[in-house]
Structure formats: C-alpha cells, structure tokens
C-alpha cells in the first residue's frame, strides 16, 4: 500500500499510446495521489492530452531521473500486457528507480518484490515494492458475515468481461461521495487496487479462499453507508468464476448491471449471444438471493459503455434498454452518474 500523499510518476516508456496502457489510464483517471508526470521518451515535452484522446494535462518526461527531479516518490508501471510479463526493455529503468529510492507499484502477473528486493535502500523503510496482484494473506472461510451489516452493498455485474464494471463503479461511487454520503469503493482487480491503494486480486486467489477474501474486504468497510464492490467477469462467460465469490462474500443488497453498447454476443466467445436484459437481471438476482439464503439484491440501473458509438447511437441504445427494462440506464462516463446514483439514495 502507498499513502495517498505520495507523488506518483507513471512509467509507460514506449507505450503511452499502446492498447495495453489501461493500467496507466486508470491511475490517471481515478488515483487520489498527485501525479507529477508520465515517463515516455517518445513524447517528452508534451502533455498526455496532446498525445492520446484522454483528458489529462499531465507532463510527459523522458527519464526516471527527470521524474525524481519533479518530486516523484513512487513509480507506477502503467502497462497491463497479455501474459503480464515485465518487458525486458523496462528492467534498467525499474532498477534505476529503485536504486534512486523510489517505491514501485507493479500490477503485472510477474511479481517483482523478490526479484528486486536487493535494490531497496535499507535505511529507507518507507520504500517498498508493491506487487498489487500478489494475494496478501490467507483468508477465513466465508460465513455470510456481510449479511448482518445494515449498509448498502452495491455489486457491479456484467453481461461480459471487460465491459467497464470498474469504471462505472468508480463513477457512481464518486457521485455518491459528492453528495456527502459516507462511501467506499472496494477494488478486486489490479487497476482498482492501484488506484484506491487497497483491495484484493481476486483472479489470483485460490477457489477455496475467494469468498473469504471478498468477505474480509466488505467487513473492513462496514462503517461506510454505501460500499461499491468492483465486479469481475460475468455469469454468462464460460471462463468466468468470479461472480459467485463476489456475491457470496459481499451479500449484495443492490446490483448495477454493466454492458458494452455495441455488443450482441460475448467478445471472446461470439457464439454466445447476450440474452434479453430482463433475463440476465433475473439470473443475477436469483444467484445473489439463492432461494432466500442471502439478502435480496435489487438491480437499480444499467451502466452502458458507449465509447465505441457516436452520441446519437449511444442515446438510441440507452433508450432501447431503458424501454426494455424500465430501469435507469445511462453511460456514466459520457452523461454522468447521477441517473444511476439517485436510484441508490
């Protein structure tokens, strides 16, 4: 974990405009830490919003040394490539950052804590290598302890993987917080963990301990009136297991269904069609409730990711789903989170 006051540099050397840069973009969009710069020598001297279609006026510098001059205390690796390996071309800069006293935040599958431990300065106890994806502890077997809590527990679910559950959750969470409501966002994936400074890497946890890990997370935040639990996977995806431990560990009281506006099938398994929304909602609510064994979870809205559509297409899709389900539907990034947020008050 990294204190909220620590100054970050996001390391994206050669990759600021890569399709694997979503870790970096997530940190730019949602981290509460000050971000002093992005490191990518291809674009040094410019600002991020001059290079890519993202609204961040963050200066880009050419080197680790320059980032430290600007006050950076923590280097965040901004890439999430398939396979999750540290690129060989990054090793020198990682070693340099550690030698010069920076902390390192690593969301790759490749764990770096042991590999580079010898570079940590022994007289600097606050310098750490944080492998975000490394499960921290053993968790107790879950016992539905969350069902005894009186707060609202909002679980993000999806029609597919990678439809924007984290982003939608963070946007609605931000809106709720702005209303002065005591609230928290509970991260379950590496980007969310990096952004919020805490959470659990659910995908990397053993089947046996998955529910217990989620329960632990939810109990830790029990003093908050509304908690948002970052979703993973989908009940409809043949490769996805995470929905069940998320539901059992958190005992959700509310669900927000997330969907990618242009999709009529799963992205990876295109012969699986997205079923009618009302059926998907019913299935998710049935699993959460489990024949009365757990709290009744009500679906309060549908967050549609319309980033691949123009504005008029986006509005059409939203209207169609709204008519079909009778629920508040919107793209919370494009049109704001109020419409869905209000349904939680």
């Amino acid at each position: 974990m990294i204190g909220k006051e620590k100054k970050l540099a996001i390391y994206m050397e050669g990759n600021l405009d890569s399709i694997y840069a979503k870790m970096g973009y997530g940190v730019m969009r949602y981290s509460e830490n000050p971000i002093v710069c992005v490191i990518d020598s291809d674009y040094s001297g410019k600002k991020v919003n001059e290079v890519i279609d993202q609204p961040f006026e963050i200066p880009i510098v050419a080197s680790v040394g320059k980032a430290i001059e600007m006050g950076a205390e923590v280097m965040v690796l901004g890439l999430a490539p398939t396979g999750g390996k540290l690129p060989d071309t990054w090793v020198n800069d990682v070693e340099k950052a550690l030698t010069l006293g920076m902390s390192l935040v690593n969301g790759l599958h490749d764990l770096l804590g042991e590999r580079f431990a010898h570079l940590l300065n022994t007289d600097k106890p606050e310098q750490v290598i944080w492998d975000v994806r490394k499960p921290l502890t053993d968790y107790a077997i879950a016992r539905a302890r969350a069902s005894a809590l009186t707060n609202k527990r909002v679980l993000m679910v999806g029609t597919d993987m990678a439809v924007g559950k984290m982003t939608a959750g963070l946007e609605v969470y931000k809106w709720i917080r702005e209303q002065g409501i005591s609230s928290d966002f509970l991260a379950t994936g590496q980007i969310g963990i990096t952004v919020t400074g805490k959470g659990i890497p659910l995908d990397a946890i053993k089947v046996d301990q998955a529910c217990g890990a989620v329960e632990h997370l939810v109990l830790e935040a029990q003093d908050k009136d509304i908690v948002f639990i970052e979703g993973q996977g989908s009940l409809l995806h043949p490769g996805s297991t995470a929905t069940l431990p998320l539901m059992r560990g958190s005992c959700p009281t509310h669900l927000i269904l997330c969907h990618r506006g242009e999709m009529s099938t799963l992205r990876d398994v295109t012969d699986i069609k997205i079923p009618p929304f009302n059926e998907v909602i019913k299935l998710n609510e049935a699993v959460a409730h489990a024949c009365g064994s757990f709290p009744k979870a009500k679906t309060v809205g549908i967050a549609v990711n319309t980033s691949k559509l123009n504005e008029s297409e986006a509005l059409q899709v939203i209207e169609k789903i709204e008519k079909e389900t009778g629920l508040p539907v919107t793209d919370v990034v494009r049109f704001g989170a109020e419409k869905i947020g209000r349904a939680l008050l």
Copy 2:
C-alpha cells in the same frame, strides 16, 4: 499419477479410527488398484473390518517393512486432517518408505515432492512422489468447448458442502459402468484424484483458471458416453465458489442433487436454512443454463446421504423428498444406485 496395477499400502499409523481418516476409507472403497495392507501398529494382525465399521477385509500390519514384504509398491497417506499438515510422527516412516523404493501418494495441503525429492532412487524412474493437491499446469481460459460435445455430462451438486457428492457420483458411475456403458468419473478433489489416478484439485486452482481446468478435464474424457463430474461446494454456501467453474467448464447436461438426510440447515452456517428442494433445483438449473447461453441441464435425481439415520428414518426422508419433487430419490450407498442410474439411460 500411479498405474492401476501398482499395489498399494495405506498408511494410517495411529489414525485408522480417526475422524480424519476419510482419505484412507475413500481409497479402500473405490480404488481400482490392489490394496495389500493398511499400516497402523495399534491394530496389526487384525483386519480393517474388525476395527472399524467399514466392510474391508484388508490386513493391518505394523510397519513399512512388513508392507513391502507383502508386495506394496506405493504408500498412500490415508489422512486428511484440518490444516492438511504432515504429522511429525509420520516423517520417519515416510522417509523409510521412499528410501526403500516405494512411491508416495500425498493428498495433504503440505506438499512433499520437493521436501523428500532427495530420497528418490535415481536408478528407479517409476518411483514418484505424487502431491495430489498440487495444480499441474496452467489452463487456457474456458470457452464453453464442452457444449459442443454430444455425450452426457452429469454434474454432482449439493445442498451443502460435505454431503457425499463424491461418493454418490462414484456409486452411480459404478452402476453405469456395470451396464456396459462407456463412462468416466472426473475427480475434482484430493480423494477422488487419488482413487481414480487423475483429476484436478479445484480448490487449489486460481479463480482465473478454474473454469479452464474443468473444461480441460471434460474435453480429455470426450470419448466416453457418460461422464460424471465430481461436485464441490454448493450454490447455497457462503464460502463456496466451486459450483460456477464446474458448471461453466463442464456445460453439464444432467445434474444429480446431493443432500444429507438429517440436515435442515447448512452444517457450518446454521442460520442458513436448506430451501425447498424444488427451488434449489430451479436455481442450479438456471445457473447451468444461464438464460440459454449453455446446454439445458436437467436434474435427474436426488442422492440422500442417510448414514446418520436408521433404516426406517432413511426411508421416510426419501419418500418425503420424492413426494415433494417427483424425482427418483435414494441413498445410493445404502440402497444401491440403480434408481438414479436408470434416469440417465
């Protein structure tokens, strides 16, 4: 893995009558390997059925040396204690067995392969230490490949953990095989893996890979007309994740629901009542089908574990559930598996 012709000794020193002996009993009941003896010096000279209430006429001997004299080639550790550690008092005999050339089968969480590797005879390549609970490989992300198969895939599900899903599955599988039908039992826990010589330790696999591991298992057995997939956990248990990857990986066509006759609540979480059977059946079928995304799985029968009831109580419970659900219901250990097996033909 251990060849089916290898002769086994089951090591239960000081524990033949322990509550943690279910690993040993499972091997005695279901292993296809010849079992030459049980090792427990407390009862040497007797047979197993003279010591405990289990129908096995297996001789008990006092030492590893004696087992080897009788032809034993493989020593199976017969204990599954809470925590899964190797008892200190067993270390000497494990070392002795390995030094004298026996293979070792270990179902404990404690992995022994590395710890004792130096004792393996380098000129004896068939001598192995098999840590049954160690996940073997990385698995591909599941893509519902099993849904394209034309065989019957029977998944065991439960109203709770530890209700006898493995035993019921093995009994129905045995009956089906006796009818001359090409069939297989796919193990997903340490006892089933030991007994059948293959399978996946689902609880120890990462959430990310769980569906893929099950899919791998089911695809390997695709030439069989009926496959039984050993169940784990329960959709109703707050600490259980395994039902979802089992359903997604296997795309079951049939379900057998397992229940412990005397229970009206979960065993570990007693404030969760077992819901009406028809609702449990509906929920399991709904999750398996996922709004039409996967094959429709039909529940063909209910296997009730009545080991805690006398025969008249057992028959009463069975009749009651049969009336409630209209399905074939029986205790497959006590009354035979034919009643449920026939429903699969």
